[in-house]
């Protein structure tokens, strides 16, 4: 890459990040109002609180203020103090705490699952395409379909049954600072179905590329097969895979509620779902903003990756 190109990419990144600010603001406003439209509140329960007590609590959390005022306070708190407010459900914990505790856990097993899914998936897909219509191909296709057919909430119990109850090799749950024994099953459970899709996309993309004219040219030049695959075919093969990987990266972090429940990992997925059910406004909004920002960044990275994979794409 020449210096001009780096400059172009840099200015593109800055432009995209500037656009991200109103996007996230809009996300906050929309979520804020949607949450309040949903019936009930954080302090409604089967056994109603005495009215005076309820009024007291609501005043303490500022819920007696008009909505726009609540939104304004919320936003200024974030911008000025980077404070996402206190949890309505867990006394003495605020949202910053909950995220700081849960997010590193989600990030760790989510990222590992992402790596496992992409590396194994791509390798499987490439192998299947190179050995098209041989047993390797059939094996990869079967494995891919099987992996895709097993969602993580089925994989979870199966893994625990096998590795913990029958074989007794791995602990059945917990986090324990992220020791590898505690990571194996969450990562497998989370990655398999994405692995299957990635393998399938890679395989069909590679098959198409292997039939293209420039591969014929490479063959006519007398290049050995491994060079043809590695230097000529791989990059264009991965273009459609990348567009799938971007959203997957965000999913593996958000979709981990089952992992959190089955393996008691304590990640953010569980807090997210429970906060939505219990109308814990502050936690729900905080986590949503986090995922929103993550999505924006991952999309940007995907677009930058495109430019690296395909020189025709310039911003």
């Amino acid at each position: 890459m020449g210096p001009l190109l780096v400059l172009a990419m840099l200015s593109y990144t800055i432009r995209r990040l500037l656009v991200a600010i109103p996007t996230i603001l809009l996300l906050i406003v929309a979520c804020f109002f949607l949450m309040h439209v949903a019936p009930g509140g954080p302090f409604t329960s089967e056994r109603p609180l005495p009215e005076a007590v309820l009024a007291n609590i609501e005043a303490r959390y500022g819920l007696d203020q008009p909505l726009w005022k609540q939104l304004w306070d919320y936003l200024t708190n974030i911008v000025v103090h980077f404070d996402f407010g206190p949890s309505f459900k867990f006394k003495d914990r605020d949202v910053n705490d909950i995220i700081a505790h849960g997010f590193p856990i989600s990030l760790t097993y989510g990222f590992l699952a992402f790596l496992a899914a992409s590396i194994v998936g791509i390798a499987l897909g490439v192998a299947a395409a190179i050995r098209h219509n041989t047993w390797i191909d059939y094996f990869a296709v079967c494995l891919g379909v099987a992996a895709q057919a097993l969602p993580n909430f089925i994989m979870g119990p199966i893994l625990i049954l096998t590795f913990t109850l029958w074989l007794g090799l791995l602990p059945g749950g917990g986090w324990n600072g992220g020791q590898w024994q505690y990571l194996v099953m969450p990562v497998i459970a989370l990655s398999t179905s994405y692995m299957g899709s990635i393998a399938r996309i890679t395989r069909s993309s590679m098959l198409e590329i292997l039939h293209s004219n420039f591969i014929r040219t490479a063959r006519a030049k007398g290049l050995p097969e491994y060079l043809i695959i590695w230097r000529h075919a791989l990059k264009p093969t991965l273009l459609p895979v990348i567009s799938y990987l971007g959203p997957v990266f965000v999913y593996v972090l958000t979709g981990s509620v089952f992992v959190d429940i089955y393996f008691s990992t304590g990640g953010l997925g569980q807090s997210y779902v429970s906060s939505a059910l219990s109308r814990d406004y502050a936690v729900l909004l905080g986590v949503t903003i986090l995922y929103g920002a993550l999505t924006v960044i991952v999309n940007l990275l995907t677009d930058l990756a495109y430019a690296w994979f395909d020189p025709k794409i310039r911003y």
């Binding site: 293209s212 040219t217 006519a220 030049k221 007398g222 290049l223 264009p236 395909d310 020189p311 025709k312």
Partner: protein
Amino acid sequence: MSVLNVQNLCVHFDTSDGVIESVKDISFKIEKGQCLGIVGESGSGKSQSFLAAMGLLAKNGSASGAVQLDGQEILNSPISSLNKLRGKDVGMIFQDPLTALTPHLKIGQQMTEVLHVHTSHSRSDARRHCLDWLQRVRIPDAEKRLNQYPHELSGGMRQRVMIAMAMLCSPKLLIADEPTTALDVTVQAEVLDLISELQEEQGTAVALITHDMGVVARMCDYVQVMRLGKFVEEGPVDSVFENPSHEYTQQLLQAMPRIDATHPIKVQSTPNLLLDAKDIKVHFPFKVGGHLFSRSVPLRAVDGVSFTLNEGETLGIVGESGCGKSTLARALIRLIEPTSGDVSWLGKNLTQLDKNAMTQARRDLQIVFQDPFASLDPRMTISDSIAEPLRTFRPELTSRERRELVQDMMNRVGLDASMTNRYPHELSGGQNQRVGIARAMINKPKLIICDEAVSALDVSIQAQILELLKKLQAEFGMSLLFISHDLSVVKEISDRVMVLYLGRIVELGSSTDVCTNPAHPYTQALISAVPIPDPKLERSRERIRLTDELSSPLDPKAFLRFLPSKIDSNEIDYVPKLSEVAPGHFVAEHDNVV
């Protein structure tokens, strides 16, 4: 010893429909420094025989027979030993230069890797050697090209890169598979010149696979005519062209429209003005610059074209790719909104019509597109496609009347009644184009625009479609706007011809005037670049060469390529005027360049 000696080569493909024999027992030799032409239409097996020889067949293909390269048997050798020959002893160039280079690798990388696998050149030596070859194939700014990606180069330039890459190891044999089919005529002429120079200088044997008898006449010493997997005729070029003994060779030669042929001129009784286009402009916004601030400049695709078309007349529009001929046609009938200008159609101004009135007017304004298969709805039977304009414009017809009209039209365009319920994928390209013509003709329109309507077809099919269009025109009296990049085809069918260069008319006149008496240097260069299927004539002709390739329409100087005096006097925005050099023969202002 022959460079390549092929004996009893057969190629089979295993498909789900059974075994297909695509090459049936062919034998031929190529001597050192000789150019062998293999000529035939699509599907004749001409490419497959060479792919088989080099072990490049698709996986379901298999070959038998014997192929010797310099006395060494190579057919069905293991890949590892073939890899030592490919790119080293045998160079190959293919038809479509746009897709033949790896898009994400720089030109330099793609070239040096050939030297890397076949020679022991050091990195810098390899680079120097590549640069040397790029200069030999006359690529301007060769040094810069090494660091560019394929998409930054034009089609002609990419084909030169392919040739340079194929020649890097000075191969004994160069296999050129339709090397110029996707290129403009002037670029084709240069690429062909280049190949024959290399053949002479390096003593390389050349196998030239083509469908174009004109290219064979220009290039080859010996020719093999191939049909349905077999050679039907072979011999030295002169004798085959002079005395074609096989019926198929005669057909091929007859089907080729010739730029030097003479046609009887249609006499028009009372010219009745149908269409009057005035100063048509189509500009597209084009983004330049790009970091934080980008601005858009107009790309002038069509820039002030005026012409008239009479009832029953055929006007041919020619020009090279990017000259705006298709854009002009689409702007006329508002498939693209023209940026400015007026189109007067039977006294009405088309550009002013509202949506409903325009839809009504479209009944008389029909168009036939280049790709016959892609321009039909794959989910509709061909009779439904043909009947669709009837449903739109004559909803009062009963389904029975409609069916009869469709049958009648299918009959006229030469489609068998048994095809009524077929789908486009079940028909050949030529048949699909007949469907396209039937669909356009069904309401008996006053104007049909043929946008490269025969360009994707084999020569013999092309001749049939041209014949059909002439027949229908004689019958129904519609006018034709016939757009093509192929000057000899345009001449064959048109009464008048318009030559476009970068969105402007450079010459307009009767087809005989323009083709036999071209007044503008661009027209002269175009005509001299068209190969004539007659070896003696073709080789003795003097070629008028333009110095550079078609320049970018974003470069204002490109518009004054034939009027450099105005660039010198700094009048960049000057628009060359058309002047009438003979009655009805208009030529754009130009200096005596070339």
